[in-house]
Structure formats: C-alpha cells, structure tokens
C-alpha cells in the first residue's frame, strides 16, 4: 500500500490538524509515514502545504515527486489547483468550495470551481456550511478530511479515533463537534 497526499490551504486554516489526524490513524494501522510541513513566514496568510507520504514499506523521500500524488486535500479551492503538477493521472482532488480571499487579484470563484470540475476524480464540498451544522465553523478542515477519507487508505474508524486523540485535551464538546464534522464530510463523499 502506498498513498502520497498533498494537503493544502492558507496559513492558519488548519492543514496541520488534518495531517496530524491522518498521522495518528496511520500509526494505529502500523503504516510507515513521512510528513513534511511548512512553518515560518508563509504561515502569515500565505499558501501552505504538507506532503504526506503513507506506505506499508519504509518511506525515503520527505517530498512527493511531481506526478505521483494520489490525493490532494485542500481547505481552499485555489490552493487545490496550485499543486496539480504533483497529482497523478488517477489521483483524487478533494476541496472545500469556500474561497479564502486575502489578495486583490483573487480569481472569480466559479472559474476556479469550473477548473476543478474538469477532473473526473474530484470532490467539492461546502465544508464551512457542514462545519457550522456540526457545531463550529472552525471544523471546516475536518469536514474536508472526512470528504477525503474514502481515498486515504486507512479505516474510517481509525480517523475517528485519531480525532478523539487529537482534540481530547480541548474537551468532550470539541471532540464531538469534530467527529460530526468528519462524518458529515464522509457522508457527502459517499453520496
């Protein structure tokens, strides 16, 4: 088993929480992993990405080779497209539909969505709405993770366990909200 994943978004949107969740789930399933993150300057509202490599065999490279990513998980639609050179032919693209606009020349959202829909293997989810429904807009990242969960290669229950572990210190209420968010994303993808 091998799954190379790019997780993308804008600094502060919670892509590292997505990565941490998949990481915990991977460990539960005795998978090998390497996960490269971006810290520092770009975290100030710039584009950020994490290369997440999951495999049953030991992983060498910390970075994914162009054309080899099996999945792009993006918390923001324009950021989903930024990493297309990494996506493999059969790869999946899962993204939040809500733009994060902090630049003047942000393209029209319908153009972006049209571009994303060109990919047969794509899932576009209104993660903000689903997160609000689950109880907190802040859980949009976990909704997107849920929508990507059928393509990750770890059991959904492991992702649920990981969410419990990750948010445990923040109290039962936050855990429940995020479990709901994860499930909402999953249900959407499976529809």
């Amino acid at each position: 088993m091998k799954n190379d994943i790019i997780i993308s978004g804008v600094g502060g949107q919670g892509i590292l929480s997505i990565a941490a969740t998949i990481g915990l789930a991977a460990v539960e399933n005795n998978l090998c992993l390497k996960q490269a993150e971006v810290h520092g300057m770009s975290q100030r509202g710039g584009d950020v990405q994490s290369h997440f490599r999951l495999s049953s065999a030991p992983v060498f490279s910390d970075l994914i080779q162009y054309g080899h990513a099996d999945l792009i998980i993006s918390v923001e639609p324009m950021e989903a497209l930024r990493y297309l050179p990494w996506l493999s032919k059969q790869g999946w693209l899962v993204t939040n539909s809500n733009p994060f606009i902090n630049i003047n020349d942000y393209p029209p959202i319908h153009d972006l969505l049209k571009e994303i829909r060109k990919f047969k293997n794509s899932v576009i989810i209104d993660a903000d709405a689903a997160a609000r429904e689950a109880g907190s807009v802040r859980s949009g990242n976990i909704v997107v993770l849920g929508a990507a969960s059928p393509f990750i290669g770890v059991p959904f229950a492991s992702l649920e366990n990981a969410v419990r572990k990750l948010f445990n210190s923040k109290g039962e209420e936050i855990v429940e909200v995020n479990l709901k968010a994860l499930k909402a994303g999953r249900d959407f993808a499976e529809r």
Binding site: H39, D62, L84, L87
Partner: protein, 533 residues
C-alpha cells in the same frame, strides 16, 4: 517498543533530553524553533528542571551553553543558520577552548530561503572552526546522532555541530527512542584550570592540539558509522550523497532498480579514502548535496582533472536552491512526469499581515508622516514587520540582518540622509539593536528608531520577547533623551496623533525612539485562550 511521531527538530530535542542534557539555549528562528519549544513543553524536561529559557540572541545562547559545558554538564544550543553568524565568535573559539561537559551546536539551514535572507551552508563553519559535524538524513538518524555527538564531544573535548536543513527539521515520522535514558552529569570543573583561557600563549598551544584532534577524529567509530558505502553492480556511475539528498536518491533508485554504488556521507571530517575508493570503482561520479557544493569543491579541487564529476558546479543539478526528488531523478537520468500544469488563474498568495495587526497601522502612519521628506529613508529589520516591504505598503528600504536597521540608519545619517529612520521589532531590538542604538546616542546621530513592539517574537510563532516591559527603560539607560522616547499605540483611531508624533521626531536632529506598542493579535488570542481554559 517506544516510538513517537516526531519532526526532525523534535527528534533532536527528545534525544537531547534522553542523552541527559542539563540545559538548552536558543533564540527562535525558522527552521530551528521547534527544538527549544519541544523541550519547553516536555514533561521529562520539566521534572528534571532542564534549563530551557530562550536566550537574548544566538551569541548569548552559544556562550551560556559553553558555560554549562565548563561546569561539566551536557548542553545543547540551537539556532537557524544565520544565527550561527551571530554566534560565530563564541562558536569558533569554543573549538580552541574545547569543552568539559558534552556540547552540541545545532544549526538548521534553510536552502531555498523559505524563511531566510540567505541559504548559507553550516558545514562550512565546521570546516572553518575545525569542529566535527553530523548531518542526518532522517529523524531516526538525527535522534541517534545526538547520543554519538555527545560521546564524541566528551571523548575529544570538542564541541560538535549538528547540521540539519528545513526539510528534515519540519518533516515528521516515527522515531524509536533509546531504551536507556542517560542521567545528567554532576557539576565538575575542568581538570585544567586554564583550559578556557585563550591568552595568546595558551591559544597557540590549544590550536595545535585542535588541528591534530580534527585530523584524527575522522577515524573515530562514531564518525565512521555514519559514512557508509553501498556497492552496486552498475559502475557506470558512482553517487556521493549526504543529508536529506540521500532520501531523494534512494526513493528514485528504489523505483528504477538502477543499481549504482552509493557513498553516503553524514559525518565530517570524512576520510578521503572513502572518496578515493568509490572514484576508483566507477567511471563517473555524481555528487548530491543539500546546500553548497562542499564535498564537490573538495573533490574537484582547482585542477578538476580527475574522474568525470557531475554536481552543482557543472550545472548537472541547479547551483542554488534546495534539492527535491525531481531534480535528483533528472540527475540520474530518470524521466520526470508532470501530468498537469498550474492553471494560469491560480494567483500568487504571498504572506501578509494578519487582519488587525498593529504593524499595519504603524506603517500606515509612518507612510503618511514620512511623505513630506521623500522616499528611500526607512531601514528595517527581520520579523513580521518586514512584510511592510510588500504592497500595499512598500514602506521599507532595507532588511539585511538582525539589528541592521538601526546601524544602517546611523550610517546613512552620517552620510547626510535626513531624516533617517529605523523600524525594528521588540525582540530584534534586544537581540541586536541595542548596541547600534548606543552608537547613535554616543554621537547624537539624527535618527529616529521606531520599535514595533508587539510584545512577542511574532514571526516564529510568538515566543516570549526579552524586551517586553523593558523597552523604555533600556532606551533611557542607553542614553536616549527622555523627551524623545515616545510611546504610541498603533490603532486606526490614533492615526492622526501618531502621524504628528512621528513627524515631530523625524524633524528632531538627534536620537529619538518611538515605541509603537500593541500586542500581536495572534499572541493575544493564544493568551486569551490559555486564560479561559
């Protein structure tokens, strides 16, 4: 089995704890920051009361760590690559004094300058200072190396440099921890009472002994075990690689079944016979280094008339920037397939001030106040406020090194530029701005220093700033006249008042300081969350 998911930085930190350090010293800087942060939040470190406070800058960190080593205990000092320039005085002389307790200096390089002003390669400092250097390829190796580096340091009485790069520092994987944790060392003074006294007569002796130590250390088992040769059946090409580049190579080789001999170098000084051996076996040599072509230059020499060598110097791989799997694939003749291009409608998204950031309000006022004097007179520094260089502000004219805003403003004022303005953050000011301000005061330079005081070290994630609550006193203590230390609150509602105060001080023909004081909104939010829970 005791395994943890750790960043490269965290693996080093965990190893330092497990190897029995008594203290870590550091100044925050990407990509090294998480080493100290991990130890600050570690329960073991807290139980053992390991010293783990941020230092004022990398020089004070380096020297404090050397002091802890003097007292017989194991110490670590961590910084980003350019921080090693700040610490260089102590670092280089620590090779001559040698150590008592084991001492590891971690320098995290940032090739491709993700968050830096240059991409200098710390391995050159190893060579320059005659200090051995370890360069891990992965997190497990980083963890293991810390133990070996401490042993090596204590055996040869020499500090050891641990060089990592961004991709290792910020890449996470599973790391197996040592079964046995080491105890801290007891307080024990150096056997030789003048070991640390670098008077010329003593320094000359110690330098001779350093040269011979450095020469013999390459045969130590702790160096040898990290420099490994793996033979291959296809001897058309031999590959010499080190650090993170090894990972990109092995990824490509595994996929392609290209069975080339590989020499992996992860500890310096490396024995030349390893190089001679692979060169004699193979028709041609490819050298893959993350950073500068240190090994490549050494092998080519000036005459470059030995084996055919490919590397950074002949353009087989790019001369600058970090490596990646695609660059390495091309270098060993493998195809790189990109299916898709980035569609043109995807726009650049550079970093920017957070919504509501006080720096933005400070710059808005500054731009208005400086307008009558004309452009080109704002020297700035390193921190979040450097983003004032970007549109819509385009407000600053320099960003060079920590503290250079103040001193460059002084030099420009000496040349006749008036007014000459410096913009520096609070943490950068205490790091390296105070001494420059003393220069200004001592000759009454007509400069205005704006201290953008957000009460934190913002860019690196909000570490405690040494300046908090002390800036006015520091400036008065240095000798800035009381009437010319002004405090403003950078809020939109204070715009007109702030412009007026700035103008007044710009017009003053002497040293003035304007402290633009408002807590970083990220730090404030974190503080409020912590207070609530």
């Amino acid at each position: 089995m005791n395994k943890l998911l750790l960043l490269g930085d965290e693996a080093i930190a965990q190893a330092a704890i497990d190897a029995g350090i008594s203290g870590i010293y550091a100044y925050p800087g990407t990509p090294s920051t998480e080493i100290m942060e991990y130890i600050q939040t570690s329960k073991d470190a807290s139980d053992r009361q390991i010293h783990r406070e941020w230092s004022t800058n990398e020089k004070t960190a380096m020297e404090a760590a050397l002091g802890m080593s003097y007292a017989g205990k194991r110490a670590m000092v961590a910084m980003k690559h350019v921080g090693l320039n700040v610490a260089a005085d102590g670092f280089i002389n620590s090779a001559l004094t040698g150590v008592n307790g084991g001492l590891i200096v971690v320098s995290a390089d940032d090739p491709s300058m993700h968050s830096s002003q240059n991409e200098q390669d710390s391995r050159f400092y190893s060579k320059f200072a005659f200090i051995p250097c370890f360069e891990p390829s992965n997190q497990q190796e980083a963890y293991n190396m810390v133990f070996d580096a401490f042993e090596l340091s204590e055996k040869y009485k020499i500090p050891v440099l641990l060089r990592i790069t961004t991709r290792l520092a910020h890449s996470r994987t599973s790391v197996e921890l040592a079964k046995e944790k080491l105890h801290e060392k007891k307080l024990r003074l150096p056997a030789d009472p003048v070991q640390f006294v670098l008077l010329p007569a003593i320094a000359r002796k110690r330098y001779k002994s350093l040269l011979s130590t450095f020469d013999s250390i390459k045969y130590d088992i702790r160096i040898g075990k990290y420099n490994s040769f793996r033979d291959g059946t296809n001897r058309d090409l031999g590959i010499i690689t080190c650090g993170i580049a090894y990972n990109y190579l092995m990824e490509n080789i595994r996929k392609s079944h290209k069975n080339y001999p590989v020499l992996k170098i992860s500890a310096y000084p490396f024995p030349a016979d390893l190089i001679r051996d692979i060169t004699s076996r193979c028709k041609e040599i490819l050298i893959l280094e993350e950073g500068y072509p240190l090994i490549e230059e050494g092998i080519r020499g000036i005459l470059d008339n030995g084996a055919k060598i490919y590397g950074r110097l002949d353009g087989a791989i790019p001369r600058d920037g970090e490596l990646n799997p695609a660059i390495v694939a091309k270098a060993i003749g493998l195809p790189v397939n990109t299916m898709e291009k980035v569609p043109p409608l995807v726009k650049m998204r550079p970093p920017s001030f957070c919504k509501g950031c006080g720096h933005a309000d400070m710059f808005t006022a500054l731009l208005e106040a400086i307008k009558p004097f004309g452009p080109g007179r704002v020297f700035s520094d390193i921190g979040c406020y450097t983003l004032g260089a970007l549109p819509p502000f385009n407000a600053i004219n320099s960003c060079v090194d920590m503290g250079a805003s103040v001193t460059m403003a002084v030099g420009a004022a000496d040349a006749g530029l008036f007014p000459s303005v410096a913009v520096i953050g609070d943490s950068t000011f205490t790091h390296s701005g105070m001494t420059g301000l003393l220069d200004a005061v001592s000759k009454n330079s007509p400069v205005t220093v704006i201290i953008a005081d957000n009460s934190t070290t913002g860019m690196t994630g909000g570490q405690k700033s040494k300046a908090t609550g002390r800036i006015e006193q520091i400036c008065a203590g240095i000798g800035v006249a009381e009437g010319h230390i002004r405090v403003v609150i950078p809020l939109r509602k204070n715009f007109e008042e702030n412009v007026r105060i700035m103008k007044e001080e710009f017009e003053y023909r002497g040293v003035s300081v304007i402290i633009a004081s408002r807590e970083c909104i990220q730090t404030a939010a974190r503080r409020k969350r912590a207070e609530a829970s």
